[in-house]
């Protein structure tokens, strides 16, 4: 039996190697703390694997380049942090509108604006959902361990390819820079999903064909298929339309593609929820503190469990709604002034009180902050 490939790795490293395992062939990016190591590693490693790394002149260009690369057939990716993520928003909307698979990694730091380049935060949760203009149903994942980061980078690529849409992976400064043990899986253990290719003759091909799953097969440039792409609202052929019925059809397609496949997309983890009256909801790096908090609170005989959304968007509301049916109290813990708590409030029935415990001073949340909140809010 081959020995396990165990490594001590930084989150940014795990992300870069996860992307390589997923088959990334193009990276376009721009230096920004705390994400820069991802670019640095890929600048070194990608050429060895036949990939192409380009340092772009800014984040607008980075996001645009990965769109171009993906349309030309590459698995493409960029990595950034808050300020760069803001600059990417217009192009992110374009990728969504034109249904271009690509991966954006946002290693979050304190904001707003330049904020805290070297400090942790989870304050891009809502920007990832509502950052671009217009209605937007993105896929956004949040990793909480270094091992997660590796696997979720692969998952991000797979979801992007499967659903022909941009996928955002949220990391944070602590995850990006801390080192942890990680088992690198053998390539045979890694599931790789590739975009669905058209099977119709070229003259029948529609780049945004309406299908039962709402995912259209995708031809790349240079494969003999002729198609039109535009950020303007378009019909299945890709040409701009001003017809109300076709406009609605396009926007419904974009929404349904994500929301009707939410069961497949949504991932979450649960602990001690069977008899829990109190549900702690935490994601990303804060889920680590919440895991410990739940254990401490259990020892103190609180009937408390943990729900960790791994997919932030679409929010795993179906499952959480079920869990909250038996709960009197939901505590949302996040490193911001209260963002994902609004999603929990939306689905909680009157019987369940929803309270938040937040930290936004550039430091990690401690398990005791959550335990104290459990004690304080429980009655």
């Amino acid at each position: 039996m081959a020995e396990d490939n165990i490594k001590l790795m930084q989150g940014n490293e795990a992300c870069a190697y996860g992307a390589l395992a997923a088959g990334v062939t193009f990276f376009g990016g721009y230096p920004i703390t705390p994400s820069t190591e991802i670019a640095e590693i890929l600048s070194r490693e990608m050429p060895k694997n036949g990939g192409r790394f380009i340092q772009m002149e800014d984040e607008i260009a980075s996001m645009a380049a990965i769109i171009g690369a993906s349309v030309a057939g590459a698995k493409s990716m960029t990595a950034t942090s808050g300020p760069g993520f803001s600059l990417m928003q217009e192009n992110l909307g374009y990728a969504y509108m034109t249904e271009v698979p690509c991966v954006v990694v946002d290693v979050q730091r304190g904001g707003p604006s330049t904020g805290l380049p070297t400090k942790v935060a989870q304050a891009d949760t809502m920007q990832a959902k509502w950052g671009t203009h217009g209605d937007f149903f993105p896929i956004v994942l949040a990793a909480s361990t270094i091992e997660d980061t590796y696997h979720m980078t692969i998952k991000a690529f797979n979801l992007a390819e499967k659903y022909r849409t941009p996928v955002t992976l949220l990391l944070d400064e602590v995850l990006g820079h801390m080192r942890e043990k990680i088992r690198i899986p053998d390539s045979s253990e890694v599931e790789i999903v590739n975009r669905i290719k058209p099977t119709v003759p070229p003259e029948w091909y529609q780049h945004f064909e309406l299908t039962a799953t709402h995912v259209s097969p995708m031809a790349n440039y240079g494969e003999g298929y002729r198609f039109h792409m535009t950020g303007l609202t378009h019909d299945p052929s890709g040409f701009p339309t001003a017809k109300p019925a076709e406009i609605k059809e396009k926007l419904d397609k974009l929404k349904s593609k994500i929301m009707q496949n939410a069961d497949d997309i949504c991932a979450y983890s649960e602990e001690f929820l069977d008899d829990a009256h109190i549900v702690v909801i935490a994601y990303g790096i804060t889920a680590r503190a919440a895991q410990q908090a739940v254990r401490i609170a259990r020892q103190r005989r609180f009937k408390v469990g943990l729900f960790q959304p791994i997919t932030i968007w679409p929010f795993p509301e179906k499952r959480l709604r079920k869990i909250l049916e038996n709960a009197d109290l939901a505590i949302v813990a996040e490193l911001n002034q209260g963002q994902l708590i609004h999603e929990v409030r939306k689905i909680a029935k009157t019987k369940t009180r929803v309270v938040g415990t937040f930290r936004y001073d550039g430091e990690l949340m401690t398990p005791m902050q959550i335990v104290d909140k459990i004690k304080e809010a429980h009655r």
């Binding site: 230096p31 640095e40 070194r44 800014d58 300020p83």
Partner: protein, 309 residues
């Protein structure tokens, strides 16, 4: 009274002990950019509004809760130092407060040549009365030495690594002063902290001209270029004397003055050998020798183009 005091101060030579960029900031030992900024500020005088984009200069000059700037100063964002300065200028004009005032927008090479070139171009094109100063240390030093559009050919950076198949940065340094000059602005020039008096002269000359001005100052970074901290001036001078960094002035799009190197010309190896970022060019392999030859050609082309001989 206040106005008189300002005028009086302007006539005096830049003070040696009391700089407008106060000491005690957090720049690294031997930082060329800190020296460059000090020269620019002292040459401009106290009646100056300053914008600075994200980068080392912003970070090291304003550690909490202190500021090294003895004039109105703002950290913009990364891409927009010129645009913020344009707003300041417009507002001062609107309020009739633009007399005897200097506005200096500044940024590093990345903030100027890459992410900020759009805002810079707009500022130059609209004709604002602003001096833009680009401190060129040839990479993104603040985030850990990634290449920029002004990184020289063959330099090692963290995103242009050196290895069996790579000799470092494979693109040429963007000719930013000429791009600026192509906007039809009255003054575009290069300078280096290797020749401080030239920096002072150029800043004072530029500030006397109405309209948009561009000055690119070559500022060695001991950390990123990998040279001893007491060699900053020496390295800066070698860049000029080898022909790799031409020092010139362009007025209304025409080359009007150059710093001749003549018989003081040094072989490029002297400049390259002084820095760790070019160490791979001296491995003695045929590939390394071929790369060295390319760098020699760059110097040769500069000398011919700008008439430096």
């Amino acid at each position: 009274m206040a106005e008189q005091a300002v005028k009086k101060k302007k006539k005096t030579k830049p003070p040696v002990t009391e700089s407008l960029l106060a000491p005690g900031h957090r720049a690294c030992a031997g930082c060329g950019e800190a020296l460059g900024a000090k020269l620019v500020m002292d040459a401009a005088g106290p009646n100056t509004y300053v914008t600075t984009c994200t980068g080392c200069l912003e970070v090291f000059s304003t550690p909490y809760p202190e500021s090294a700037w003895k004039m109105p100063w703002i950290h913009s964002l990364f891409e927009n130092s010129s645009a913020v300065a344009a707003g300041i200028e417009a507002a001062l004009i609107a309020q009739g407060r633009d007399k005897d005032v200097n506005i200096i927008a500044q940024g590093g090479d990345g903030g100027t040549a890459d992410i900020g070139i759009g805002c810079l171009s707009g500022m130059l094109e609209r004709g604002h009365n602003i001096l833009y100063v680009c401190y060129d240390n040839e990479a993104y030093m603040n985030t850990g030495v990634q290449r920029s559009g002004l990184t020289p050919f063959d330099a090692r950076t963290s995103t242009t690594p050196v290895g069996k198949r790579s000799m470092g940065n494979q693109t040429n340094k963007k000719n930013l002063p000429e791009i600026a000059a192509a906007h039809g602005i009255p003054y575009s020039a290069t300078a280096t902290v290797g020749y401080p008096n030239d920096v002072i002269r150029k800043v004072q000359k530029a500030l006397k001209i109405k309209g948009p001005k561009f000055l690119q100052i070559h500022v060695p970074c001991p950390l990123g270029w990998i040279h001893p901290t007491d060699q900053t001036i020496e390295v800066a001078k070698l860049a000029v004397l080898t022909g790799l960094i031409p020092i010139f002035e362009m007025e209304d799009g025409k080359l009007t003055r150059v710093r001749k190197i003549g018989k003081n010309r040094k072989p490029v190896e002297e400049y390259l050998k002084a820095q760790g970022r070019f160490r791979h060019l001296f491995k003695g392999t045929p590939e390394a020798e071929a790369e060295l030859e390319k760098v020699r050609q760059i110097a040769e082309a500069n000398i011919e183009k700008y008439g430096l001989a």
